[in-house]
């Protein structure tokens, strides 16, 4: 029994570490399930020139992103996370300026970074 425990502890520890390091991909699909949908919703609002609606969805998107970040930060690259933060900041400016082209650029870039997160 003692030998079993001595062998089981390191194996369990390594399994837990691997789980933490690879959890990003899984957590994106569970905790972060609303993120891609939010991006699509903002794209639709921007295309329809519904800037107020786009701004509201963006606020919800930012809150959802902050929640997801707590979980995925351990298995993701810092640069990808910072780029998404930058996209959100620039998107806010684009929506405030009612700049369709910039808004759409930032949205698609944000979507790309989200897809690459945890890969």
């Amino acid at each position: 029994m003692r030998k079993f425990i001595i062998n089981a502890i390191p194996i369990t520890a390594l399994a837990l570490f691997i789980l933490i390091m690879l959890s990003g991909h899984f957590l994106k699909k569970t905790v972060g399930i609303s993120i891609p949908q939010s991006i699509d919703d903002i794209i639709e609002a921007v295309n329809n020139d519904s800037w107020d609606k786009a701004g509201n969805i963006l606020d919800d998107f930012e809150k959802a992103w902050d929640k997801v970040l707590i979980w995925i930060q351990f298995s993701s690259e810092r640069d990808e996370i910072n780029k998404i933060n930058s996209c959100i900041a620039r998107l806010k400016g684009a929506i405030a300026a009612k700049d369709k082209s910039n808004a759409l650029m930032e949205l698609h870039e944000a979507y790309n970074h989200w897809t690459n997160l945890g890969k």
């Binding site: 390191p10 570490f17 691997i18 390091m21 930060q73 351990f74 690259e77 640069d79």
Partner: protein
């Protein structure tokens, strides 16, 4: 992103992963370190440190690197254990550099060793006169093993025909105030005997003893927590801030 927290978690992962892999690689790694083993240790340590602080990449690729290097080191160990020829090629073999008191200068040239290096290694072993040396062997880990000429070897009881009782190794009976009952049984003693012995040293309870050891010759070493030493001798040559 909470960078401090992420670094903390990655540090825990790297630390314990490195500990587990080092245990798997075993004691051979420490006792027979060759130049390559040093490089291996440095590289594995470097990968573990990057896994901790390099937030620009994920922890997973660093972990894979760590596992790969450790697995290759383990594989190399297995190969050298099972296949003698591979062991000779990879780790090298001991080389005689001084034979019958004569320096093998062609061997030194082959090993790219200077005689001054050999003299330094001899001095590290307390040998300042080459006339004392019968054999000197350069080991694969770079250390020098020396056999002195018989007339320069230290005197032993056997040389004087003095019979001596074998001392054996010391076994810890009490460690940090805690009795190790298994060791006591191994030495064919019981707690009653131990307490009787400890009473002679003014110890009435096991918890008062810091360390107690016993060897096969019956020599008991006792160290108490209370050393009755008022002030530890200061052997430093500078007063310092404390």
């Amino acid at each position: 992103m909470n960078e401090g927290l992420v670094v903390c978690v990655r540090a825990i992962i790297s630390f314990f992963s490195l500990l587990i892999f080092a245990k798997i690689l075993g004691k051979e790694q420490i006792s027979q370190l060759t130049f390559f083993d040093y490089i291996l240790g440095i590289t594995i340590g470097s990968i573990a440190s990057e896994a901790t602080v390099d937030l620009s990449s994920r922890a997973w690729p660093h972990f894979v690197g760590l596992v790969t290097w450790s697995a290759l080191a383990y594989l190399m160990q297995l190969i050298t254990l099972k296949w003698r020829y591979a062991a000779k090629v990879i780790e090298g073999e001991p080389t005689i550099v001084i034979m019958n008191g004569k320096i093998m200068d062609n061997v030194l040239k082959k090993m790219k060793f200077r005689i001054s290096d050999i003299l330094a290694l001899l001095r590290n072993q307390g040998i300042f006169d080459l006339n004392e040396v019968d054999y000197a062997i350069l080991e694969p880990n770079g250390s020098l093993s020396v056999l002195k000429k018989s007339e320069y070897l230290p005197l032993t009881p056997k040389d004087m025909n003095i019979p001596v009782k074998p001392a054996g190794i010391s076994t810890e009976l009490v460690y940090d105030g805690v009795l190790i009952e298994e060791n006591l049984r191994q030495m064919n003693k019981d707690k009653k005997w131990l307490m009787n012995q400890l009473k002679k040293y003014g110890i009435n309870d096991i918890s008062e003893a810091f360390l107690v050891t016993l060897n096969d010759a019956g020599s008991l070493y006792v160290d108490k927590y209370k050393d009755d030493i008022k002030k530890v001798k200061d052997i430093g040559d500078y007063k310092g801030p404390y």
